[in-house]
Symmetry: C2
Subunit: 198 residues, 2 copies
């Protein structure tokens, strides 16, 4: 069984999950399928026009402190972004069109680091170009590809599939019919994948 990793580049808790998942999968000999999607349309369907971490200040305050603690415990660099949420559309298009590429995982991590450790503007194509270069991807070709209408359609279809699966936030781990929500459930998802209960 494989582990689907549903994530959004603007999502704070997707960051530690993205940094940890490849190692977790490798250690358990589980194949990880990367599923970038957009939370915006899913939040809009719930009546939210902004991140719940902005709409509900207590929740936001808790999340930023919690994320800091989690990153510290896992030795993941963290700097609270000066703008939140940043727009992950461009990065998500790139990732969605190239889910099977060898450079995908290092690219995803580079984008998350740019957003949550380096406070860079991930909606800026030059930042995405830097992330592609750092992952040894064919940068110019990819940046052209993700401008095509097909890239937009692919990401919209993936986001629609997320909603259909019952995904209402990020990150989600999907193992067969089972959903696990949140960075702190990665280990549960891996265990389910290795040894599903009777």
């Amino acid at each position: 069984m494989s582990l689907e990793f549903w994530f959004e580049f603007a999502s704070p808790y997707s960051y530690p999950a993205a940094m940890r998942i490849e190692k977790a999968g490798r250690e358990s000999a589980i194949s990880v399928i990367w599923r970038p999607f957009l939370l915006g349309p899913i939040f809009r369907d719930q009546g939210w026009l902004d991140s719940p971490f902005n709409i509900y200040p207590a929740k936001g305050r808790y999340m930023w402190r919690d994320l800091e603690r989690i990153c510290q415990a896992s030795a993941i660099p963290f700097k609270r972004p000066s703008i939140f949420p940043r727009h992950g559309l461009l990065a998500a298009r790139v990732a969605c069109c190239n889910a099977d590429q060898l450079w995908l995982a290092p690219f995803v991590r580079a984008v998350f680091r740019a957003n949550f450790a380096e406070d860079r503007e991930i909606s800026d194509p030059s930042v995405i170009a830097d992330c592609l270069i750092s992952a040894s991807a064919p940068t110019a070709e990819i940046l052209k590809q993700c401008q095509a209408p097909e890239a937009g359609q692919l990401l919209r279809a993936q986001t629609a599939r997320a909603a259909k699966l019952g995904i209402f936030g990020a990150p989600f781990f999907v193992v067969g019919d089972e959903l696990f929500w949140g960075n702190d459930r990665l280990e549960d998802a891996v265990n389910w994948c290795r040894e599903p209960p009777d």
Copy 2:
């Protein structure tokens, strides 16, 4: 350092936390302080007149399946309540007025079991009486005590303190200035209590 356990009798994820916390505290020689409160006023301040698990159906579907899995993994009995959320006011008054009693922990567990394993109506005084009896509490005296205006004031003050601490859901674990949200963070809270990071 002690571990404050903030919980609400109607809250699904408070159930496994309540069933697990006494053992977790004992194994780590940590004293647990039971802090019952009401989510209703806190949710109203966020603009919710019902549980978010009812307002957002995808979140609700996920939670019930997740709770079933969690209870199964921890050998905690579970039966989805036919009414949700049930009104935890009476039980919360009892618990709030008797936080230091030796029968408090077994009483709390009995109420949670009644709600989430036996599908009983915990707003019914006869059900609360059964829970008090099973915990060897002075039942008649307690039921009279929690009708007094002071019991209501105490619970309102505790709920106000929860909001002031930044609590926006349940369960929460509080260790010094640190907050941990959710049943799956109990172990993190215990570890923080035993050995706070530098």
